[in-house]
Symmetry: C2
Subunit: 292 residues, 2 copies
């Protein structure tokens, strides 16, 4: 049994204040007993992918730069695992949407690079990020074994399944998702509900905890588009898809849950889906489409 915490934050264009805020919230979560603490996607800045602007590559940093060293020190000090999603500069013109898992001793437990990259109005991520090449992973740390997936990954059952099959106990989904103001009225509830439902579905299908942490608040950083109302609503679901904890849609906050490995064991004994997968007929999943 260990405790996880999700930090639902509002973030702006100032790397220094974002880092300071992140550290304060991590420290609070740790004081409240959290063993594994996760930040939202791309914590270091506003959600710059609302625009295609080459200047925003300045937010990126190489591996082992400040987003590692600063949180490594903090992880060690607090004896907590910290998941830090960041904008990775791998080389000139080669960028990823990545996340560290930093172990409680400050060492790097692993790194994940976002595999599924969206490109929708105001989510122009294909401009910024090279799709990940490290595959679907789970990492051991002091408290357990968890996987990291990032935002758009959450719509893909394949990602959840493959990460669960790596022995993850929890799927963490650092996220940046919200409403376009112009469609919130008509589409908002259905979009929001679909986002929660598909992830609860991953929890059920894989008998696994799902922990999804979103940013919150309105962002319109160039004042020349309509902006995004990030919908918060960070949540943690148990291995039958039941909601254990859920945040508001309008303020910064921390939510917590206990990860109960005995419950995981019980659920998988009673709903033994992994016994019956028809792997002899799943080859078509590596195709783009099933016909034509």
């Amino acid at each position: 049994m260990y405790k996880i915490a999700l930090l639902q934050l509002n973030l702006d264009g100032n790397r220094q204040t974002n880092m300071t805020k992140a550290k304060e919230y991590i420290t609070e979560a740790s004081k409240n007993g959290a063993n594994v603490i996760c930040l939202p996607e791309l914590y270091e800045a506003f959600y710059f992918c609302q625009r295609e602007n080459p200047d925003y590559f300045d937010f990126a940093e190489p591996q082992d730069d400040l987003s590692f060293t600063e949180f490594s020190k903090l992880a060690k000090k607090l004896n907590s695992v910290i998941i830090v999603p960041f904008f990775e500069k791998r080389d000139r013109g080669v960028y990823h949407n990545s996340a560290y898992m930093i172990d409680a001793d400050g060492s790097k437990a692993g790194i994940y690079r976002k595999m599924h990259i969206p490109d929708d109005p105001c989510y122009y991520e294909k401009f910024y990020f090279n799709p990940g090449d490290l595959g679907f992973k789970a990492f051991d740390n002091k408290y357990g074994r968890q996987g990291i997936l990032i935002c758009w990954d959450q719509w893909f059952p394949e990602a959840a399944r493959l990460t669960a099959m790596q022995g993850a106990e929890v799927l963490f989904y650092p996220t940046a998702i919200g409403w376009h103001p112009y469609e919130k009225g008509e589409e908002g509830d259905r979009q929001h509900e679909a986002w929660i439902t598909v992830q609860r579905g991953h929890a059920v299908a894989n008998g696994i905890y799902v922990a999804s942490v979103n940013r919150v608040g309105f962002e319109n950083h160039e004042q020349n588009n309509e902006g995004i109302q990030f919908w918060g609503s960070s949540f943690i679901a148990g291995p039958q898809g039941e909601i254990i904890s859920q945040a508001s849609d309008n303020k910064e906050e921390i939510i917590y849950a206990d990860i109960d490995l005995q419950r995981l064991e019980n659920v998988r004994r009673n709903w033994p889906f992994f016994r019956d997968r028809r792997t002899d007929f799943y080859g078509g999943l590596t195709e783009k489409w099933g016909r034509g």
Copy 2:
């Protein structure tokens, strides 16, 4: 645009009365404008898999026997597509849990054999059924193109994905699922909610309609076990997982929904998940497990 109907029925040990009831409900659904009508799993009998009893193989029939010929005549008469799940005797000792799709002209549009076979207390299907060998399919008929999956298949995202990739507009799930009376109090709500959630998740992840039709009522046909309280709750979800129609948990009834191909088109344009699948990293899905 076409209309589908799900027949939520209570079934007993008498093949003749079950068939008569099925025909009456199909006729009513057709009169109410349904173009594609689906019966629950193994419509011809009580849910005999509660016990392992070799006598129950008597419920099986070869292909093109009564469950085809009778409903073929009815399909032609009503100008409706009918999905008929039945206990298939392929040869001596070779049985499947199958379903016909019968086209509106009475011809066979296709047959599906249940791919994932459960074996849980009171659901002893591995005793009766050879796992299907026809793969995941969708079939064209007069009104559109739909896939059939059966009950336990509904917990497997791979089955939904592969059937969607065959161009299905709707996933039909004939089902027989319920509560063990001894655990309904403690586990009932969570089981029931998980069942709906995982299927709504398939609708979201695949931008597809999902139509799940369950039997209803208490069955304890040998009076020597605790029986199953089939939970009804048949439902139809739209391509963002929204519930369009849902039946009660305690009575026979028909539910309907319009299948709107323009809406399918719109959802897939706005949530283009099939654009971004990382098929280059999905090979592990054909493995039993990801490590060890």
